[in-house]
């Protein structure tokens, strides 16, 4: 995704801003994650941190190119869990990836196919990182755990 100028509607801008905010939070969080890890885990945290920084910058450029102001990053973020150990740091990394995945599902729900494809690719990347950190997989990365409840299922009808 480049920052080349292109027509993007207000709904798409809102989803891009949400994804940007999630990436900014992930960048902050990975700074904490990396501080508690060493060896291969620290290297992985650094690699993932860079991936989030690149995604953040790309999203900001896309939003700017569409004529909107990218949402600014917060000075600090309240972490979803307290981190005082390597184990807690890896748990935080998995949570950060889950939250990023949830933001990218929003992009996939757009009718703009370029943004939809971008969202799907970045959702997959986040799910892969989450799996590595958590040593677990999920049936529906990025989607609500209430999937399947009434009103949450899309419907496609066969012709009668």
């Amino acid at each position: 995704m480049t920052g080349a100028a292109r027509a993007v509607g207000p709904q798409a801008i809102a989803k891009l801003q949400a994804a940007l905010a999630a990436e900014q939070a992930a960048c902050y969080g990975y700074g904490v994650v990396g501080a508690y890890l060493s060896g291969a885990d620290a290297a992985r945290a650094t690699s993932d941190w860079v991936a989030h920084e690149l995604a953040r910058d790309s999203l900001a450029a896309t939003i700017s190119a569409a004529g909107a102001d990218p949402v600014p990053a917060a000075v600090a973020y309240r972490l979803p869990i307290q981190v005082h150990s390597a184990e807690q740091a890896t748990a935080l990394a998995a949570i950060l990836e889950d939250r990023v995945a949830q933001a990218y599902i929003g992009l996939v729900g757009l009718t703009d196919l370029t943004l939809r494809a971008l969202g799907a690719r970045l959702l997959r990347d986040a799910a892969l990182r989450a799996t590595i950190w958590s040593h677990a997989t999920a049936a529906f990365p990025g989607l609500s755990s209430s999937l399947g409840a009434p009103g949450t299922t899309p419907a496609i009808s066969e012709p009668g």
């Binding site: 939809r116 799907a120 959702l123 529906f140 990365p141 899309p154 009808s157 066969e158 009668g160």
Partner: protein
């Protein structure tokens, strides 16, 4: 002519993730000429068929892995459960009008789902997961938004299965 919800209305409603009860194509049935299957329905059929096959493969793999280590059996059983959830969710998305038979293709034959031997079976599953993930990633561009989100999520889930299978293949 009395007809039910238009195609546009159906797609708009599905994009809003509102389950629909569609029962208004009977006028067309009376004419005896079934309408062509729309692209999004075809893609959904394809996704359901692929998940059915994946569930069959994993059931065979779990049966084959009975003598393998506990870690392998546990992992395969977990992935099987996720594919069963995929299949259930995709199937719930497909609304078949009352009084009509689904045009979903019949389940494929389940013989020769996996090659013999655990290592070869894991490799075959890894390849199948990668193919399924890539296929869904391409198909999600041709469906309404809510289904695209479901397909993208399943595609991501299948990509993570590749990672797990690869790590199982390295277990001595």
């Amino acid at each position: 002519m009395a007809v039910g919800p238009t195609r546009r209305a159906v797609l708009a409603a599905s994009a809003a993730a509102v389950p629909l009860l569609v029962s208004a194509c009977r006028g067309v049935q009376v004419l005896g000429t079934p309408p062509p299957v729309p692209r999004d329905v075809r893609l959904l059929h394809s996704a359901i068929t692929a998940e059915r096959l994946m569930v069959s493969r994993y059931r065979a793999a779990v049966a084959q892995a009975g003598s393998a280590g506990h870690q392998t059996v546990t992992a395969l059983t977990g992935i099987l459960a996720e594919h069963e959830q995929h299949l259930a969710q995709l199937s719930a998305t497909l609304v078949v009008p009352a009084g009509t038979a689904s045009r979903l293709p019949a389940a494929a034959a389940t013989s020769a789902l996996l090659p013999a031997g655990l290592a070869a079976g894991l490799l075959a599953l890894e390849s199948a997961e990668q193919d399924a993930s890539n296929t869904l990633a391409g198909q999600l561009l041709g469906v309404p938004p809510a289904l695209a989100q479901l397909m993208a999520s399943i595609s991501a889930s299948e990509a993570t299965h590749v990672t797990v299978l690869r790590s199982l293949g390295r277990v001595p």
